[in-house]
Amino acid sequence: MSLSNLIKNWSSLRVKRPYEGQYKDKDYKWAMVIDLDACTGCNACTTACYAENNLPVVGKEAFSKGQAMHWIRIERYWGEGDALPKFPERGAQFLPMLCQQCESAPCEVVCPVGATHHTPDGLNSQVYNRCIGSRYCSANCPYKVRYFNWWQYPERAWPNPLEQQLNPDVTVRSKGVMEKCTFCVQRLVEAKNRARTEGRKVEDGEVTTACAQACPTSAITFGNLADSKSQVAKMWERQQIDLAKDKQEKSDENMRGYRIFEDLRTYPSIVYMERIRDLQA
């Protein structure tokens, strides 16, 4: 950004994010809803993400050191096991964890080289060319969804001729850079381009992420929060969740929607719907 551009946009750059009605007049704000009651923990979303975003399979040894590169992972909890002494294995709970695309992202402010930014449509972007691998962003991420390339993975993850299956719309990352979920930005860019040529906005359901597309129980819903008629916007509204608030006031205590670590004031773009279980059954 040049000096003139910096001065011109100074007031908009200095504003505290997020604020009430930030995306009201904007075209896009990408957001997601994940229904934990529908999630079966099948890992189809993870697999789809590996295929779509050129994620390397790191192998058993690296995985055991916590170097796996899954941009979306299924976290497993055994919270309900104690209530079911006879069938403790029924107590497993699953939670797909991916980048929450925070509106006030802790990772963005600590990058020493400005490799991670907030895009106008509300995504938390990562530019691999600019990243120097300080890993500060990962340390500052409360969700631990940023993944570092400890090794030069491409040669061993896709030996010839497997490199033919790589997605040409996504960079193959090299050693020493940080990477994270992009909300499948390559699909978003393409959908926006198509819509623009036809002189309209992207319609609801026209574009979706790989994980949402692969989910067999439709637990993941993806869409444009700035469009009040989209499914995601309706779900957010029904769950009485406001993007710009760190504490949601709800009219009904049994409402299932929540955002993870809201009290850290990261203002995530993903709403989770709590699981319902009848433990007597």
Binding site: S4, H117, T119, Y128, D169, T171, T182, Q186, N193, T197
Partner: protein
């Protein structure tokens, strides 16, 4: 002493501001003296093509030149990311009707490929790195279809005046600083308004 420090600070900040404002946007990327017409040391190499295709004859508008629209051959520029290199049957489609030039060496070579049923192995001249997402469609839709600027001018923003060359040569820098230098400009939205807009300034628009 206090005044001293203040003075130094003012001078320092002045120096920073001036150097930032006056710094060349991008001059590396090629041997010194290989300057493009917009001031970047980034003139591309001469690329030897299998047939020395005269863009001049086809797209030029001088006497005896055909003044064909760039997008008659590079047909995908208006509807996809890449502009596309025309297939051999596009060349033959016209040239089998043009008897007068059939004996020229270049046309003979063209028909040799046609008879052997082999595509012409054209070499890439404008090559962007794999991590860049450039979209021809967006630029053509805006400047050619919406603003009705002349096609040679619109393509020429990035490709130079190919209509005056034989085989194309990269004459623009095609570097990030060069792209941004245009995206920062205040472009008039159309001829009848004073409203301006910039190109996108968002990393993920071009970086993938």
């Amino acid at each position: 002493m206090k005044v001293h420090i203040k003075n130094i600070l003012i001078w320092l900040s002045l120096c920073c501001f001036c150097s930032a404002a006056l710094a060349e946007p991008f001059v590396q990327g090629g041997p010194i003296g290989s300057q493009t017409d917009d001031g970047f040391n980034a003139l591309g190499p001469v690329v030897e093509q299998p047939i020395e295709f005269p863009h001049k004859t086809h797209a030029g508008n001088g006497p005896g030149q055909m003044n064909i629209n760039c997008m008659y051959c590079h047909t995908y520029a208006r509807r996809s990311n890449v502009s596309g290199i025309p297939r051999l049957d596009k060349c033959i489609g016209c040239h089998k009707m043009i008897e007068s030039v059939r004996d020229k060496p270049r046309i003979k070579k063209l028909f040799e490929y046609w008879e052997k049923k082999k595509p012409i192995p054209w070499k890439k001249v404008h090559d962007l790195p794999d991590f860049v997402r450039f979209n021809h469609e967006r630029h053509i839709q805006r400047f050619y279809f919406r603003e009705h600027r002349p096609v040679r001018e619109v393509c020429g923003y990035c490709h130079g005046d190919v209509g005056s060359m034989n085989t194309a040569r990269r004459v623009k820098a095609l570097s990030m600083g060069w792209c941004v230098s245009c995206h920062q400009k205040e472009h008039l939205e159309n001829a009848s308004t004073t409203k301006t807009s910039n190109g996108p300034n968002d990393c993920w628009q071009c970086h993938k």
